[in-house]
Structures are given as C-alpha cells and as structure tokens.
C-alpha cells in the first residue's frame, strides 16, 4: 500500500512536469493543483489544500521562463506527501521543499545535457531523410526523459523521507517550529516581489498601491479584488484608448522605456 502511494506521488510529479512540456503550461503544474492531487491520493484532501495554498503563495511570484528561475513544483509535491504521511504541521512542507528544489535543479542540469544530444539526433535524422524519427525524438524521447528525471527522485524521496521527517519532528522544539513558520511566510513576500519586479515600472506602480490600499482598508478577499481589478483594467483601457484613437502613441512609448530605477517608487 505504502509502495503504491509512493508510486502514485511519483506519477503526480510526472503529470506536473508534462503540463508545461506537452500541454503548453496549463497551470496543472502549480503547487495548489498538485498538492490537492496528492491530498486526494493519500486520503487527506484538507491538508493537501492547505499545503497547496501555502506553497502556492510562496512560489506564485517565481515565473519559470525557459530554464531560468527556481521551480519549486517538485519540492511542493514531495513536501505535501511527506506532511500527510507523517502527520506533522504544514510548514514542514516548505522545509522539505527547499532541499528538494536544490536536488531537482541539479538533476535538471544533467537532463538538459541529454536534451542537447537529442537536438543533435534530430539534426542527424533530418540529414538522413528519416523525418519520422526526428519527430519521435521531440515528441516522445523528450517527454520520457523529463518524466524519468522527475519520477525517480520524487519516488525515492517520498519512499525514504518519511522516517527522516519523523525523526526531525520529534527533536525540534516549539520555537523552531514557529520560526520556520514565520520564515515560510516571509518567503511569500519574496514571491510577491519577484512577480512585481517583472511587471512594474514608474508609470504603473500606482496600480499596485491602489490594489493594496483597497484591500488593506476594506478587508475584501482576493476573489472580489480579482473581479475589481479586471473591471478597472477595462475601464482604464477605455478611458485611455477609446476616446482618443490617435495621439497617445508617444505616451505609450515612454511607458515601456526599460532604463529607470523602479526602486524610487517603492521606498517605504
């Protein structure tokens, strides 16, 4: 039974990596989704949801574009599985996820070397007029390689990790737990900041503060704020572009100038 569960978690990690490989990144890879799946698999949906929400918050800002950036998706799956299996507090998920992320980054480097070879195989097959095999290398070899490089480490960590986590939980005092929990929450702000830094500039930073101030004073939840923000986007778009179809070009151009220091606006 335990073995089957570990295999199941490994398969979820395969599904997670394939989301961005063959489904154009539909967001199935996000911790919120994968942790819920782990929860369903291991029979504790509530914990899965809570860990998923926690991990999602921490990593929401971490865009993965190409190969750059840190990807905590694998770590979240392992962390969530171990939290449910050992019954420790949900902050433990993040403590597990960090070393797991380091490991999966190293493995990612190795598999990327193999994929360069795949690319050369494609070239050679095309030169040999074997077009079918060139397609197969891309659509089958690639995904299989990704799957193996995720399944094996996730399976092994979940299989052998439960004892380690149990041992840690027994010896760790209360204040360390609270400190780790605080640390995990501080990381969330790093995620927000990363996200912010990809979108913000001098001219639009005000919208960040508008969102913050409305939410801080009114206490409105995120669902309400998401709807409000979409309405605002439409409204401002119309005000800006609909009434005066010409003459705004210059203002827009100056907006996308990348050479400024956004920090000046964010001093607080």
């Amino acid at each position: 039974m335990f073995l089957l569960q570990c295999i199941g978690v490994g398969l979820i990690s395969v599904f997670c990596i394939l989301d961005s490989r063959i489904l154009g990144r539909l967001n199935f890879e996000r911790p919120l989704i994968t942790c819920t799946m782990v929860g369903i698999l291991l029979g504790d949906v509530q914990t899965g949801l809570l860990v998923g929400a926690q991990m999602e918050m921490v990593t929401l800002g971490m865009m993965s574009i190409g190969a750059s950036g840190v990807d905590m998706n694998m770590g979240s799956i392992v962390g969530c599985a171990l939290v449910i299996m050992t019954g420790t507090n949900i902050e433990m998920a993040l403590t597990v996820a960090v070393p797991m992320t380091v490991l999966s980054n190293i493995l990612g480097m190795i598999s990327s070397i193999v994929r360069i070879q795949f690319t050369h195989m494609c070239d050679n097959y095309v030169e040999a007029s074997n077009y079918k095999m060139a397609r197969v290398v891309h659509s089958i070899y690639g995904p299989i390689l990704y799957s193996l490089f995720n399944f094996i480490p996730v399976f092994l960590t979940v299989y052998f990790g439960a004892d380690v986590v149990n041992a840690i939980t027994e010896v760790v005092p209360e204040w360390v737990n609270n400190g780790v929990s605080l640390g995990a929450n501080i990381i969330s702000f790093y995620g927000f900041a990363l996200l912010l830094s990809t979108m913000v500039n001098k001219n639009n930073v005000i919208f960040f503060f508008v969102g913050f101030v409305i939410s801080a004073y009114s206490g409105l939840g995120l669902t309400a704020m998401a709807v409000i923000s979409i309405v605002c986007a439409f409204l401002l778009y119309q005000l800006r572009y609909q009434d005066k179809p010409t003459g705004t070009t210059k203002a827009v151009e100056s907006q996308i100038d990348p050479d400024y220091d956004e920090l000046e606006d964010l001093d607080n």
Binding site: L60, F189, F207, A216, M225
Partner: protein
C-alpha cells in the same frame, strides 16, 4: 512536380491544419535545450505541413531544406507559438508556389522577429496576469478548505489558454502578415500590456494586503501595543514593508535559493526575540 503536394496542402480543411499548430504549440517545451531552445518543437509543429508540400520522393532535397529551416533557434510563449507556426506554414506554402521570387530566408527572419515581442506579451499575459488571478482566487478558496479553489483556478487557466492557442494558430495561418501590419499600426501590443499590468498589479497589491498576515507582538505594557498603532495608520503595513525590502533584494539579483535559506534563518531569529510573528 511539386504542384500536387501543394494542392494537397491547400485543400486540407483549415480545422485540421489549425489542430496541428495547436498541438505543435502545446508541445513547445517537450525538448527544451540550451543550444537552440525550442527548435525541435518548431520542427515538430511544421513537419506535417512540410511533409504534405514536399511529399514527392524526388523533392527530398527541398523537404530537407525546409526541415533544416525549422530547426533553427526558437523560443516563445507556448500559446503564441501557434501563431508563429501558422504564419510560417503559410509562408512555406507561398515559397513552394513561387520558388523563384520568394526568398525562404524571409521565413526565418519573420520567425526571429516575432520571438521577442510575442514572448514579452505572452509571459505577461499568461504567467503575470491570468495565472496570478486564477491562482490567487484558488488560494483564497483553498485556505478556507474548499476544493473549489484548485478547480476554479484550472477552469480559468484552461478557458483562456486553449481558445487563445487555437485562434492564434488560425489567425497566424489565415492572415498572419496582414495581422502583423495591423499590430504595429494600432499599437495593440502596448495596449494589451497596459491592460495586463493594471489588472495584474492590482491583484498583486491585494495579495500583499490579504494573503499572508505578519504582525508584531512588540508592546510596552498594555498602554502601547505597536501593532494597534500601526493598524490605526495603515493596516498591513508590515507586509507592505516586507514586500518593499524583498523588491529591493530581487532587483539586486540575489540568487533565489540564497534568499529562501536566509528567510528561514531570519524567521527563526525574529520569532525567537518576539519581534515578528505570524
């Protein structure tokens, strides 16, 4: 001669061609590599078109050349990859029809020119706006213990990603070049970026204010509780300050793993001395 293959390609129902661009786009990262990034993916997306145009064995050289063209460096937001695939397929047809007047280098040039702008808008739209809105709604529901959180997040993601990929492929193939001219004329990229940044940034602001609450237990007796003083000025001041500090750190380009490990250490210290608490 080649006319038979070209006829087959032209007679194929549009739906079938768009379906190839669609899956070519979703498979964009199946063999991502450091050398030429999504090059094999582009080849995969184009292969059916090329195979049909040059299906005659006597044209193997032309077919090979077309394959080589599609194996050049490529990188794009997957969903918008469909647009490029559609446009390149239309251009390959044109080249097969007028091999003397149409320079095949054009195909590579257009492809390269599209990568930057389409990826810029694509990443802002999909990862910066749609993902953030979908996931933040999902998080707030999941925190209340509702399974609807992840479900709604996925519905939002799929309901935007799938149709956009489909129509990107269709528009790219049917009137790609015309569309490109319109794009540059009407500045639609900038307009879309503007709308994305308004919605995205407002949600990020709301996330800072509502998702994670960090407070301070500092107090001088009962008379002065620091947190209630802060709340009376601006609620959620500590989260806002932390975001500001983190923004500065992110701009400095500190390695993410370093930041994550440091956060744990700082969390332990601040919690131990009772300066901050969750």
């Amino acid at each position: 001669m080649s006319k038979q293959g070209l006829q087959n390609q032209k007679n194929l129902p549009l739906k079938k061609k768009v379906r190839e661009f669609f899956w070519g786009a979703w498979f964009m990262q199946a063999n991502w590599n450091y050398e030429r990034q999504m090059n094999t993916a582009f080849m995969y997306g184009m292969s059916n078109t090329i195979d049909r145009i040059y299906d005659d064995p006597s044209e193997d050289e032309k077919r090979k050349a077309a394959y080589r063209r599609s194996l050049e460096f490529f990188n794009i937001t997957p969903q918008f990859g469909a647009f490029t695939l559609g446009l390149a397929a239309a251009m390959e047809e044109e080249y097969a029809e007028h091999p003397d007047t149409f320079d095949p280098k054009m195909i590579g040039a257009v492809k390269t020119a599209l990568m930057g702008p389409l990826s810029g808008i694509g990443d802002s739209l999909f990862q910066g706006t749609i993902r953030v809105i979908a996931m933040s709604i999902g998080i707030s529901l999941a925190q209340q213990g509702s399974i609807l959180g992840p479900i709604i997040a996925m519905i939002i993601s799929i309901a935007t990603s799938a149709p956009i990929t489909w129509y990107a492929g269709k528009i790219g193939y049917v009137k790609g070049q015309e569309f490109l001219e319109q794009l540059t004329k009407s500045n639609i990229m900038d307009k879309l970026m503007y709308a994305c940044s308004v919605a995205g940034l407002m949600v990020i602001g709301a996330m800072v204010a509502s998702l994670v609450n960090i407070t301070t237990p500092l107090a001088m007796g009962d008379a002065l509780q620091v947190q209630s003083v802060l709340d009376s000025i601006l609620p959620k001041m500590i989260p806002l300050t932390l975001t500001g500090i983190m923004f500065w750190i992110a701009k400095k380009g500190v390695k993410p793993m370093v930041v994550i490990v440091c956060c744990f250490v700082i969390g332990l210290i601040l919690n131990y001395f009772g300066i901050l608490a969750v």
